[in-house]
């Protein structure tokens, strides 16, 4: 069994780091994972002080296999992964201009939970993630957010989110729970795209992705693709466009344009409107009528069974109703789970208890005290606009006004 060797990438070179960029990690760790190393090479990405990784990198010159592979990710047990929106601050991200941010020229690569922002101001090809390998293998992009900015002043080179070239017949590419937006070309849908397999002999699987505001959301030429539960909105020329008419299989997708698909299985939805939480926050609102509840349950999918959404929320098991797109709407609430009064006799950490948990107390007027309370969040706490308030009831008197707790 292969040994997992994890290295920490942190552009801020904080405690426990190994390298300050994925570029340096790739250069340092490059090698044969299948031989004596017998290894899974893992890059765990952090961002301890807010600095972006600004060096594009290529994974090439390795030897990998299905069990000895390359994995770049943000660990969900840490705090450096995005919350389903593109975030700065202490969230790991790659921000590059005028080149491919991640070029995966190796098979058996997993890219998970990475944010990428691409800017184009030259005639170079620009792609967020580019799978361009020639050996047989399986690669993944999962829970990534890929953003294009700055438009594209050039018409004859790519400005693309996730691009797939060349993988051979016995290969598979999975793009799962990803959000791709803002990749535009001034003249051509083949150059400005969200996700695009191009003359790929491999099979491409695009599941539960959200593709918005690109020139073309999904652009495919002569490539066997399966799109399931994909949300496409506002892609300027077309939401989906594929030239080889029978090669793209579109199921349970929802889009804002009105074009019917070549291989519509009868479960796709055209001319839809969607309700998102914000302009750049593509979590579904409870009021959404375009994607919420219209997805296909992929819990037992034959090719890529999974259960969570882009920010790790549970989509539900085999019997659940799934949403279309990268986000699964989960109703959110905060409730008080408990409280306990304390004496004001020390610091926040050292104060002593005044009573047991969940026991009310009586105090003389103008007596200082401390109160701890425990809140329980369900669903997505980030979607809740909550504040804590308290009011006082004098003995024998009426409740006072609610006052905000800061």
């Amino acid at each position: 069994m292969a040994t997992t060797v994890t290295k920490v990438i942190d552009p801020d070179m904080g405690s426990g780091y190994d390298y300050d960029s994925l570029y340096d990690w790739e250069a340092a760790q490059q090698g044969d994972l299948t031989g004596a190393r017998n290894e899974i090479a893992v890059a765990k990405c952090r961002c301890t002080a807010g600095t972006a990784d600004t060096t594009a990198f290529t994974m090439d010159g390795w030897t990998t296999s299905a069990t000895q592979y390359i994995k770049t990710w943000t660990d969900t047990s840490e705090t450096y992964r995005h919350n389903g929106t593109y975030q700065t601050g202490n969230k790991y991200r790659i921000e590059i201009s005028n080149t491919n941010a991640i070029m995966a020229s190796e098979e058996f690569v997993k890219i998970i939970g990475i944010q990428i922002k691409c800017t184009k101001s030259s005639s170079s090809n620009v792609r967020g993630i580019c799978f361009w390998f020639t050996g047989d293998g399986i690669s993944y992009a999962e829970s990534c957010i890929v953003v294009g900015t700055g438009g594209d002043p050039y018409s004859s080179t790519d400005m693309g989110g996730i691009s797939i070239y060349q993988p051979p017949t016995n290969s598979k590419i999975f793009v799962i729970n990803c959000i791709v937006y803002g990749f535009t070309s001034p003249t051509s849908i083949s150059y400005g795209f969200g996700v695009s397999p191009y003359y790929v002999n491999a099979i491409t699987y695009i599941y539960n992705c959200t593709l918005l505001d690109n020139t073309c959301g999904f652009y495919s030429i002569s490539s066997l693709s399966y799109l399931k539960n994909v949300l496409l909105k506002g892609n300027i020329t077309r939401d989906i466009y594929h030239v080889n008419t029978l090669a793209a299989h579109v199921s349970y997708c929802s889009k804002s344009d009105s074009y019917s698909e070549f291989t519509d299985d009868g479960n796709n939805r055209n001319s839809q409107t969607f309700s998102f939480v914000g302009a750049a926050d593509f979590h579904l609102q409870a009021s959404d009528t375009g994607a919420l509840g219209y997805g296909l349950n992929l819990y037992n999918d034959a090719d890529y069974p999974f259960q969570t959404d882009i920010d790790g929320q549970d989509r539900g098991g085999a019997a659940a109703s799934w949403d279309i797109g990268a986000d699964e709407y989960v109703s959110s609430a905060i409730e008080q789970e408990g409280f306990r009064f304390r004496n004001d006799d020390g610091s926040e950490s050292a104060a002593t208890w005044k009573a047991n948990q969940d026991v009310n107390i009586n105090l003389a007027a103008d007596t200082a005290f401390r109160l701890r309370f425990l809140l329980k969040a369900t669903g997505n706490p980030d979607s809740i606009d909550a504040q804590a308030e308290a009011r006082v009831k004098p003995s024998g008197g009426a409740f006072g006004a609610w006052e905000k707790i800061n």
């Binding site: 070179m13 780091y17 030239v243 074009y259």
Partner: protein, 278 residues
């Protein structure tokens, strides 16, 4: 004010092509950092295990990008033109061939390019040891698989050349889908496929009465699109890094503990441009 990173240890990939294209060799200038990086105020992480450092305090960071790859850069020369036929004889060559033509358009590289151009309707290939010449025809190009991005396009549509004006180089062409060759696609879908690609390749749609689509295209416009398409699809990285230092200098840096300081002049005198080297 820059510091350069070179790998401490070497690695050779068994696939020679991949080894050249993908592997960071020990003597390659692998990356650069701002001055003071190797002081590691928060500790060295894994850097000192994997890299050696050349600190060059008087070399500006803006000048420091010696980590780049050696990449293909194709260019074209029109050898002859036959306006009456809408044809060009073209030579394609490599702007970054290397001092001994190690990255010239030859061998497997030339074969791949030829195969791609064949799918653009090009003909008359002559491959030399450094470049390739071929004939590009407007009429053949507009009937090619790569123009439409549809394999076997000739089995799906018919083409009629209505007119061609040698003086302007403008061809007037009718393309018509063949019934029964488009699966279950609707007229709307087929129309979109055809009209979008006409526009993308530089043509102008003149009329559209299904199943006949009439468009005009000018020979230099389609040539421009063709060149851009070949650059986009065929250009590759030849070598992972273009610059390196001599092995003896690498060994000396390792012996000195892995971090040395040089002046800009010293550093540049050691730098090897592989593209220029013989």
């Amino acid at each position: 004010m820059a510091e350069f990173l070179l790998k401490r240890n070497d690695y050779t990939h068994p696939d020679a092509d991949k080894d050249r294209r993908g592997v960071h060799k020990r003597t390659d200038v692998c990356n650069f950092k701002p001055n003071g990086f190797s002081l590691f105020p928060n500790g060295p992480g894994s850097y000192l295990n994997d890299f050696i450092f050349i600190c060059v305090p008087d070399l500006d960071i803006a000048e420091a990008n010696y980590r780049e790859s050696w990449k293909d850069n194709f260019d074209y020369e029109i050898v002859a033109s036959r306006p009456a036929l809408g044809e060009y004889d073209i030579r394609v060559f490599e702007l970054n061939p290397g001092a001994i033509n190690q990255n010239a358009i030859a061998g497997t590289k030339a074969t791949k390019i030829r195969d791609y151009m064949l799918a653009w309707g090009c003909s008359g290939f002559v491959l030399s040891s450094t470049d390739a010449t071929f004939t590009f025809s407007l009429w053949d190009a507009v009937r090619s698989a790569n123009f439409w991005d549809v394999p076997l396009i000739g089995t799906r549509v018919t083409f009629v050349l209505n007119s061609y004006v040698p003086a302007s180089g403008i061809g007037n062409i009718t393309v018509s889908p063949i019934e029964g060759q488009w699966g279950t696609s609707t007229e709307q879908q087929i129309s979109q496929t055809i009209t979008r690609k006409i526009t993308e390749r530089g043509g102008t749609l003149i009329s559209q009465i299904y199943p006949n689509f009439v468009f005009e295209i000018e020979r230099s416009d389609i040539l421009t699109r063709f060149r851009a398409d070949v650059k986009r699809r065929m250009e590759q990285t030849y070598m992972r890094h273009q610059y390196s230092i001599p092995q003896t200098d690498h060994d000396a840096i390792v012996s000195a503990g892995g971090i040395v300081t040089m002046t800009r002049v010293e550093f540049l005198s050691k730098l090897i441009d592989k593209m220029a080297a013989t």
